[in-house]
């Protein structure tokens, strides 16, 4: 589903070392991967590179067998519209209601000829999606009228409404209380079971992330320092990974 080969991305400040220096990885269809790493290690940037929002200086990115670097603008838009992306800051459209926000990907897919839904079917799908995140009664509200957790759930509904084959979640629970965090992970799990989508998730909540993901990836100093089963992370040979997972003060981090 996703194949990265030799990704190198330079830092905006040329004096700094590159953000990524030769990252290669493969994520198979239907896999659930968690991506972690210390702050400012480039986790969100890696997600944006996978989606074609940011181009690396070197290396290739393939999504669903298509090289994003060689794709025409129309092809790239078509690939991107098949990825459900939950942004770190939700990125809800301020000028649209909750319902319009969630309906937006469906309407665009309809415009691109990727969906054959009429307006009634779109509204039904939006209602279903909003019911799924427990916000069916908030459809007419503007994003500014919602709490942080509610905004996150609307963003989640928007990411999954088109049932995309690839789902990417960037910090889906950042800044949320433990109950809302549990609810969000429950929703992610339900969605994953329902659609069998390939899922890549970035989170600083390492315990919740390991419970949710089959496979864990960790980036540190521009390289992948861990790529393996979630359960084996504690016993990793790398002291960086062990210290990060255990949250210890002493160590190389």
């Amino acid at each position: 589903m996703i194949a990265l080969d030799g990704i190198r991305k330079l830092h905006l400040d040329p004096v700094q070392p590159p953000v990524f220096d030769g990252i290669s990885l493969r994520i198979a269809e239907g896999e659930t991967c968690g991506l972690c790493g210390p702050g400012a290690s480039g986790k969100s940037l890696l997600l944006k590179i996978i989606c074609g929002l940011v181009r690396p200086e070197h290396g290739t990115v393939e999504v669903a067998g298509r090289d994003l670097g060689l794709a025409s603008p129309d092809e790239l838009r078509s690939i991107q519209s098949r990825i459900g992306y939950l942004f770190q800051n939700n990125a809800l459209f301020d000028s649209m209601t909750v319902q319009e926000n969630v309906a937006f990907p469906l309407r665009q897919r309809l415009r691109l000829g990727q969906e054959a839904l009429d307006e009634q079917q779109i509204l039904a799908r939006v209602s279903e999606s909003l019911r799924g995140v427990g916000l069916a009664t908030h459809a007419a509200k503007m994003p500014s009228q919602l709490s942080g957790g509610q905004r996150k759930r609307v963003a989640l509904a928007r990411a999954v409404v088109a049932r995309p084959p690839l789902l990417i979640y960037d910090e889906p629970t950042a800044g949320l209380d433990p109950v809302t965090t549990a609810k969000i992970y429950d929703l992610l799990g339900t969605e994953q079971k329902l659609t069998k989508s390939t899922t890549l998730i970035v989170s600083s909540d390492i315990d919740a992330l390991r419970r949710f993901s089959d496979r864990m990836l960790m980036v540190y100093r521009g390289r992948l320092c861990y790529d393996g089963p979630s359960a084996d992370m504690d016993e990793s040979a790398s002291p960086v990974v062990r210290q990060f997972v255990r949250g210890e003060l002493e160590g190389p981090l």
Binding site: K48, C51, L53, P73, R77, S78, Q80, S81, I83, Y85, F87, Q88, N89, A91, L92, F93, D94, F104, P105, Q108, R109, R111, L112, Q114
Partner: protein, 260 residues
Amino acid sequence: MKSQRALTSWAASLRTQATQLGQIAMLVCVGAVRARRPKGELLRQLYQVGNRSLLFVLVTLGFTGMVLVFQSCLQLSRVTGDLSQVGGEFIKYLVHEFGPSLTAMMLATRVGAGIAAEIGSMVVTEQVDALRMCGVEPVEYLLVPRFLATLAMTLLLAVFGVLSAVMMGAFTAHQTFHVPYSVFLDLSKVKLPDVLTGCIKALSYGAAIPIVSGFCGLRTHGGSEGVGWATTRAVVSSSFAVIVLDFLISALALLSWQSM
């Protein structure tokens, strides 16, 4: 050596920016032809650009017209005392130069700043990336309706602005120097080339302001401070574009119409 390196880097950055501006202009033109705009957005933008700027343009051009006519009459009354030509010359100048250019300068501050701030804040809150992830080209979705609205409304507002300046000028000449309205409102000096030049200028400014401002907005980075900088850059660059276009179109018009 250091200054040479800085100069090379500045030139490279300028070249990159010029290329990006050209690409955006191209995308806007293609998008305007493809007509894949969100429903109702063009009407909303026509209202935002046109109706909401009308009073601002009428008042600014009205007052500027009053000041210009008063100063012209004052100087002429001291030198020749003949004020019969003031109205005709003022209207001619207003139609081909002053009306469209001053209207565009007003729109560069009001509309240009608005476009850059709106798009810039969408960039820093990742809404532009969210548009891309829904398969939408942000330039086409955000900029094309603003481009078409500004294109149409700059011309229309320039017409209203000219009318406001003429009326306020005639009123000033009549009240302060007793120039009869029938003498001041002399349209015989306004020829077709003047009207054409004015229209071409208004349309060119109307195209340049949203493209330059949108470019500044899309290049925003660094949070709310970045939005502030993008807005400032948009106003300065749009105003600069208006002045450069004014010079170029005036020069071309002078060469073209004179040779006719």
